[in-house]
């Protein structure tokens, strides 16, 4: 569109030569000022004089096109020939923004002007203008025309061509009311364009543009074909590394509303779409829009068109595969309908947080009517926990989605969800569900999370889970059964679970855990008995604990209480100290197991330091294991402050410091 409009500028200065009056020895061209909404030409004079009318000179005082104004445009020729009533010049000069060699021939009878401008040996622009009744036409052709010569004709604040050439022709037909038809057939080579900010730019673009615009009753009708074959372009935030894009379509331009009544767009690596719609050019944006695309390549679609818009979401780094179909209807600035189908799709988070495989989905959404959607996947994972084949039936009522209940195989158990509901409001998405976890073996669970292999099963009830404003909250208590005891998680909340710094806070209460199972799991040295573990005010940042008040204590009740030599050594090392050597030195080395009365250890984690305490105070320390039975052993810790990282290190390496076994 813009290309054609430009040409009127060049054409104008030639059309000024219209009526001619001849006098003795001098021919004077007299032309009135021309004023139109988008241009005006003022102070036009032209004369032909000298010996044998050999000198021709035309001047335009002011030529204005949109915001551009040129003053003193001059066309002159010192060797003009009059030939059968035609004025010819083979060595003329055109002064527009620069002085250029021109050739022209003017036939007053036929009312035809031929003008050719040689910018260089390879670059030639030819203009033929013809007028009279019933109308006029102008045809511009170029061989290797520099596109940057058009810069002056473009409006401000837009992308400007900086390099590149064009070949082809542009023809404009007009009548008394102005332009009636524009036909362009142009090939572009090595085109480069950019705006001042560099956020919209293209380089080395090659392709072809065909355009046919004609005046209709209410406005303009257009038909066009754009073939972008090579070159790269960046249109923030989208980047097209290579050509292969093609658009053909037709439509209209009425006022400032550009319509595509029928269009077909092909994007390399993504697929093809049929589209139509209306675009308000004066900043109004998209008014309405229909798009239909089948068999889109999700990989290309995601990388080229979706990823740049998802940077701050959990979907910022995906590997997408598969095919999709989309029908999309947009009216008055809002989506009214879309119908999305995914076939054999795969969505894998590059950071390993989630993955869905074998996704087949049909989501026929409407903003007014209730619709049913179905999403299936054959497998996947969330935070390394494997998900099995799942079918999610969704009822959609606008941006409110509900699912009656479905179950997701999780490792070797099942996560049963009932009453799932999600809705979107101004503050983003919110959703909630409740459900339960059918037994998952701890072996699988711990392996998936990279924990030491645990025994037992994990099962529980999941009360209402709410997500809103980036925060996930569990209302009520999560109940799990592991190590033959119970684990209750209360006040669990998670902020920005997929953000840069997830925060978790919770209170944990574990009761009656079987020490035998537990110590076997963590290869801690065998212990027998039961313990309660409380973790109050647990705060985790980026999945690392930063604050809590934890305590481990023997459960009330009667049960066998035994502790192995290995376990004693290991417990000792928690507070630091050299128990192993002491045991080895004493007669106790002959005993594999000892009896105990109570075990207790607490840690209050603050600022990376664990403040430790035990069952009861001891002189200069605290009792961790209180002996009982025969042979009995007590462990007393003296170090009350241990760096959390050190503690974890010690748990791993089992070195000893500052704890002495009191051998009784």
């Amino acid at each position: 569109m813009r290309f054609l409009a430009l040409w009127r500028g060049y054409v104008l200065c030639i059309l000024c030569l219209l009526p001619i009056f001849a006098q003795a020895g001098q021919i004077t061209l007299s032309i009135d000022d021309i004023v139109a909404p988008t241009f005006h030409v003022k102070t036009i004079s032209a004369k032909l004089d000298g010996a044998g009318f050999s000198h021709f000179e035309a001047r335009i005082g002011e030529l204005s096109w949109r915001d551009q104004t040129w003053r003193n445009v001059r066309l002159s020729c010192s060797k003009t020939r009059l030939d059968n009533g035609a004025i010819r010049c083979d060595q003329g000069e055109l002064g527009l923004t620069e002085k250029l060699p021109v050739r022209f021939a003017y036939q007053p009878q036929a009312k035809v002007l031929d003008l050719s401008v040689n910018f260089s040996r390879d670059e030639i622009w030819r203009v033929r203008a013809k007028w009279g009744n019933p109308g006029w036409n102008v045809r511009v052709e170029a061989d290797n025309g520099q596109v940057r010569r058009l810069v002056g004709f473009l409006p401000h604040n837009s992308v400007k061509p900086t390099a590149g050439t064009w070949n082809g022709s542009i023809g404009i037909d007009g009548g008394q009311i102005g332009m009636a038809n524009v036909v362009a057939d142009v090939k572009l080579k090595e085109l480069a364009f950019a705006d001042a900010s560099g956020l919209h730019a293209g380089e080395k673009i090659g392709g072809a543009v065909k355009l046919d615009i004609s005046r209709g009753k209410a406005g303009w009708q257009w038909r066009g074909d754009v073939d972008w074959q090579t070159g790269e372009a960046f249109w923030q935030p989208l980047y097209f590394p290579q050509g292969g894009q093609h658009f053909s379509g037709q439509g209209s331009l009425e006022g400032d509303m550009l319509r595509v009544s029928q269009g077909s767009l092909r994007v390399a690596g993504v697929g093809e779409a049929q589209l139509s719609g209306g675009w308000k050019m004066a900043g109004g944006g998209l008014a309405d829009f229909d798009l239909k695309a089948a068999g889109l390549d999700l990989d290309g679609l995601y990388r080229l068109l979706l990823k740049p818009f998802l940077e701050k979401t959990a979907f910022a780094k995906l590997q997408a595969k598969g095919r999709g179909d989309l029908a999309w209807r947009y009216r008055d600035g809002a989506t009214t309908d879309f119908d999305l189908t995914l076939r054999a799709a795969e969505l894998v988070d590059e950071e390993g947080r989630f993955a869905l495989r074998g996704v087949d989905a049909r989501v026929p959404w409407s903003n007014v009517a209730q619709r049913e959607a179905e999403i299936r996947f054959t497998g996947g994972e969330v935070l390394h926990l494997a998900l099995g084949e799942t079918r999610v039936p969704l009822t959609m009522q606008g941006w409110r989605f509900t699912a009656p209940g479905f179950s997701v195989p999780l490792l070797d158990g099942r996560l049963n969800l009932d009453g799932f509901a999600a809705s979107r409001s101004a503050g983003g998405w919110q959703w909630n569900f409740s459900g339960g976890l059918a037994p998952v073996s701890m072996e699988r669970f711990s392996a998936a999370l990279g924990l030491p292999p645990m025994h037992g099963t994990l099962s529980g009830i999941i009360p209402a889970v709410d997500y809103a404003g980036g925060n996930l909250k569990v209302n009520g208590a999560l109940l799990f059964r592991i190590f033959d005891g119970t684990v209750v998680v209360k006040d669990l909340s998670l902020s920005e679970p997929f953000g840069r710094t997830p925060h978790l806070s919770a209170n944990l209460d574990m009761r009656n855990l079987d020490l035998d199972l537990l110590t076997r799991t963590f290869s801690f040295g065998n212990m027998q008995g039961r313990i309660d573990i409380g973790v109050d005010g647990l705060e985790m940042s980026n999945w690392h604990p930063v604050k809590f008040d934890a305590s481990v204590a023997s459960s009330p009740g009667s049960y066998p209480r035994k502790i192995s030599q290995g376990a004693v050594q290991n417990i000792s090392s928690l507070g630091g100290a050299g128990a192993a050597a002491a045991i080895q030195r004493s007669f106790l080395r002959f005993f594999e197991q000892f009896g105990y009365e109570r075990i207790g250890l607490s840690c209050a984690l603050r600022n990376g330091v664990c403040l430790m305490d035990g069952v009861e105070p001891a002189p200069h320390g605290y009792v961790i294991v209180q002996g009982g039975g025969i042979p009995a052993i007590s462990v007393i810790g003296y170090n009350r402050q241990v760096g959390w990282d050190d503690l974890l290190e010690r748990l791993k390496r089992i070195t000893q410091k500052n704890v002495k076994p009191v051998i009784q």
């Binding site: 560099g198 956020l199 380089e203 923030q236 930063v546 600022n607």
Partner: protein, 140 residues
């Protein structure tokens, strides 16, 4: 009388002590979240440094970074630099929030943000671009 007076001063001094202790205390910046943000930003810096030097990316007056002149970046890399800038800003905002949170004063976020804004500019290498108080880009 004298001794009483003296004792009074000692009491007053002691009461003031928390102020001194407080003023001298360091802010907690060693939480796992801050460490991981710091590491992410440190490794990103190796990619951003050349763009600071070229002037393509500048330090904004509000403690973030911005694509100052995309034209200084080869076309094929502009999108990637845009992503770097977005990721850096996301981390910087998270960093300011985490420091406030780690010190038990989430309401400090804004002041920490503006403290950083000044320090980034102060510590910027010569030749880098930053925004002055009026928002204009200035070469250091």
């Amino acid at each position: 009388m004298h001794s009483q007076n003296l004792r009074l001063w000692v009491v007053a001094m002691l009461l003031w002590l928390p102020v001194l202790a407080f003023a001298a205390a360091d802010l907690e910046i060693n939480t796992p979240a801050i460490s991981s943000l710091k590491m992410a930003m440190q490794s990103r810096h190796s990619q951003l440094a050349s763009h600071y030097a070229s002037g393509a990316v500048g330090l904004t007056r509000d403690g973030l970074v911005a694509l100052r002149d995309a034209a200084l970046v080869p076309l094929a890399q502009r999108q990637a630099v845009g992503s770097l800038v977005a990721a850096e800003n996301q981390d910087r905002k998270a960093l300011y929030r985490e420091i406030a949170r780690a010190n038990g004063h989430p309401e400090w976020e804004e002041e920490i943000h503006s403290t950083f804004a000044q320090r980034w500019v102060q510590k910027a290498a010569p030749g880098w671009w930053y925004q002055n108080h009026g928002g204009a880009w200035v070469k250091k």
